[in-house]
């Protein structure tokens, strides 16, 4: 058991941090970027591709870098620190991750290759505001009907991965060209982008074997994205806490700096406790993911999701409170971090981790985070 990064991982972190700092170290830049569609910097996206970041989790055969969940987590943390709006999580980790799990070798090479090179942005459409989207076979391909929403970065996506119910009631996964569907994009309160996508007998191609049950694959991709989202939150929380402590040390009220007030310092200490416990859980979940055990990964994602989500509420809320009014303003970083944390805890569609874990308490006497040797 080892919680430390190796030299290569540290180099990756530093490279990504350096690239992002050039773009977003001034928060005003991020504000300007999200004010204009598509809500992120296409040229920075290209630089991330060049650096190999967009192909990080995919195998070299599929045009990727053959790295794993730990490297994905490192990148997500750095994006979280500057709340970069680039669609790494939704496009690479989630949609790309599902293609990697479900696609045929040809699809993987084509789709992931162009995703990794920055040519193609993907989105996953799995959430539904009403009736399920249906898939009907039509010769060699399929047609989809129904509405998906919200689809993160759905309006910009060149290609959309769609979950839909097949005639036999099972869940299928499909690829649709972005412009083949009716899309209405909008901004979210964190400056991110999402869309309503309406399919009306829209032509689609099955992702992978059209007989395979897509549900467990979707769950697995979601689990991976949840763990990455936990790291993006971790990055945001780190910066929210350090901004808060800096503010307490410098801001004067009643003639003295705020860190003269013990009650405020103690609340900052409690934020630190939340942050460090959340960090442990998120790191652990990425290590569980790296073992390749799908069931363990889903459980770890729920555990990390529950724990990091609680920490994000605590730290996001208290960072604003300890700052006071300034953190309510759109031009100040901290309140925007809180908004982003709020999205990250919810955008994947289920916030039911506690119910899931509560259902499972009979499965073990005591939890042991260190796996027993399997032989």
């Amino acid at each position: 058991m080892d919680f430390t990064y190796d030299d290569e991982q540290i180099a990756l972190r530093d490279a990504v941090r350096g690239l992002l700092a050039r773009k977003y170290s001034d928060f005003e830049q991020r504000r300007r970027q999200v004010a204009e569609d598509p809500g992120f910097d296409e040229s920075l996206w290209g630089e991330l591709a060049e650096m190999g970041v967009l192909g990080l989790p995919f195998s070299e055969d599929d045009g990727g870098m053959g790295a794993g969940p730990v490297e994905v987590a490192i990148v997500a943390t750095e994006l979280g620190r500057v709340i970069a709006p680039e669609p790494f999580l939704s496009s690479v980790v989630l949609a790309g991750g599902l293609v990697a799990l479900a696609g045929t070798p040809e699809q993987r090479t084509e789709v992931l290759g162009s995703l990794a090179s920055g040519e193609r942005v993907l989105a996953l459409a799995h959430l539904e505001p009403g009736d399920p989207v249906t898939a009907t076979p039509s010769g060699d391909s399929w047609t989809l009907s129904g509405v998906k929403e919200p689809v993160v970065h759905g309006a910009r996506a060149d290609q959309v991965v769609v979950s839909a119910t097949r005639p036999d009631g099972s869940l299928g996964l499909f690829l649709v060209e972005g412009d083949a569907a009716t899309r209405a994009g909008y901004s979210s309160y964190d400056g991110g982008r999402a869309a309503r996508i309406s399919f009306e007998d829209t032509t689609a191609v099955a992702l992978g074997d059209p007989e395979t049950d897509g549900a467990p694959l979707l769950e697995q991709a979601l689990a991976g994205a949840r763990i990455a989202a936990c790291h993006e939150m971790l990055g945001g929380m780190e910066v929210a806490l350090s901004a808060t402590t800096d503010y307490l040390k410098s801001r004067k009220q009643f003639g003295v700096t705020l860190n003269t007030f013990q009650a405020l310092n103690f609340r900052a200490a409690d934020m630190y406790v939340s942050l460090e416990l959340a960090r442990s859980t998120a790191l652990w979940a990425s290590m569980v993911h790296a073992t390749g055990d799908a069931a363990a990964t889903r459980e770890a994602a729920a555990r990390a999701g529950l724990h990091v989500g609680k920490a994000a509420r605590h730290i996001g809320q208290d960072a604003i409170q300890l700052h006071g009014g300034i953190a309510m303003t759109a031009e100040y970083l901290v309140g925007n971090i809180t908004a982003r944390l709020t999205v990250l805890e919810r955008f994947l569609g289920d916030g039911d981790h506690l119910s899931v874990l509560a259902a499972g308490i009979d499965d073990h006497a005591a939890l042991d985070p260190i796996p027993e040797p399997t032989a």
Binding site: L127, P129, G130, V147, E149, P150, V152, A184, Y186, S187, S188, Y189, G192, A194, R196, K252, Q253, F254, G255, F261, A263, L264, R313, Q317, I320, Q321, G324, G325, A327, M328, T329, A330, E331, G335, N336, T338, A339, T342, V343, R346, F347, L348, G349, D350, G351, L354, S355, A358
Partner: protein, 386 residues
Amino acid sequence: MRLELSAEDQAFRKEMREFFTTQVPEEIRTAVLDGRELSKEQVVESQRALNAGGLAVPGWPVEWGGRDWSQLQRHLWHEEMQAAGVPLPLPFNTSMIGPVIAHFGSQEVKERFLPPTANLDIWWSQGFSEPDAGSDLAGLRTTAVRDGDDWVVNGQKTWTTLGQHGDWIFTLVRTDPEAKKQLGISMLLIDMTSPGVEVRPIQLIDGGHEVNEVWFTDVRVPGENLVGEVNQGWTMAKFLLGNERVGVAPVGSVKRMLVRAKQVGGDRLADPLLRARIADLENELLALELTTLRVVAHSAGGAPHPASSVLKLRGTELQQAASELLLDLAGPQSLASGADPDAGGTDAPGWARRAAPTYLNLRKASIYGGSNEIQRQIIARTILGL
């Protein structure tokens, strides 16, 4: 000890309920109950309807439109108004500057300002906070210098809520730069159309424009616009901040949010954890409402009841918790906050689209109007003697 209202108060409550549900336009009330934003015109229209019925400024002296009600009746008025979805009378007018003018102003100032203030012919803004004077007003830097009969004002105010609608602004300005911290401050009424007044919007994290910076550059203000005496501003500020006992706790607004949670919960209401969360919030809110009733029953004018701090503290906590509940119910649908429903741009219902902005906006509740840290300090010092 008696649970029921007296016959008189029962009749009073009924009368209020009837007035609010018949004399204020339903369109406005429905918007409030659904948590939608009102236009300036709607706020004005509603307050004028109240004023026509003598219900806009019950806390003022009777000769200026006030009513000689008990604190309990004030409370019932306030609660019935909220239950009916009637927007509360604009607080800057009715519970801030109005009572100050009525108490400290000259007869001339009263006659000039009180009637249009009650009727919302003047929309008042508040000019107290400055960048370096938040919870601690002693740090005020905006100056007013005497020049003939006029005052010349320079400086900057901030966090001016709805300043974009303001016709006039009541300000605290430093009139004696030599005096110690809080002593050289005066209260000045300034026409916002005066040359040199500039209102700049502050965008908040909820995406909305609710507060402003107001800049004063060599703004000339007639001498008669001073309220009370020179350098008496601190006294008036304390009077103003301590004036309101009724309505400190946002009971009605939290109640509406919990009602909405049950309305929109749908199938999820089968989840015992969700039900318990709602039940617990309802029960906490009950305790808050009962405490409000207990405090108003014991208040008889004069200094604010120290328990006001309890109401503010717990009230904002519950308001924030209820908004968090609605946000959790909205889940990913809350991402559609910026979508346009009319053009078929989203299937997310209005409450879900408003859930996150409301949640973020309400972070302010525990900061503005005396932060919750200030409230704890008041309780510790004033009530517990610590």
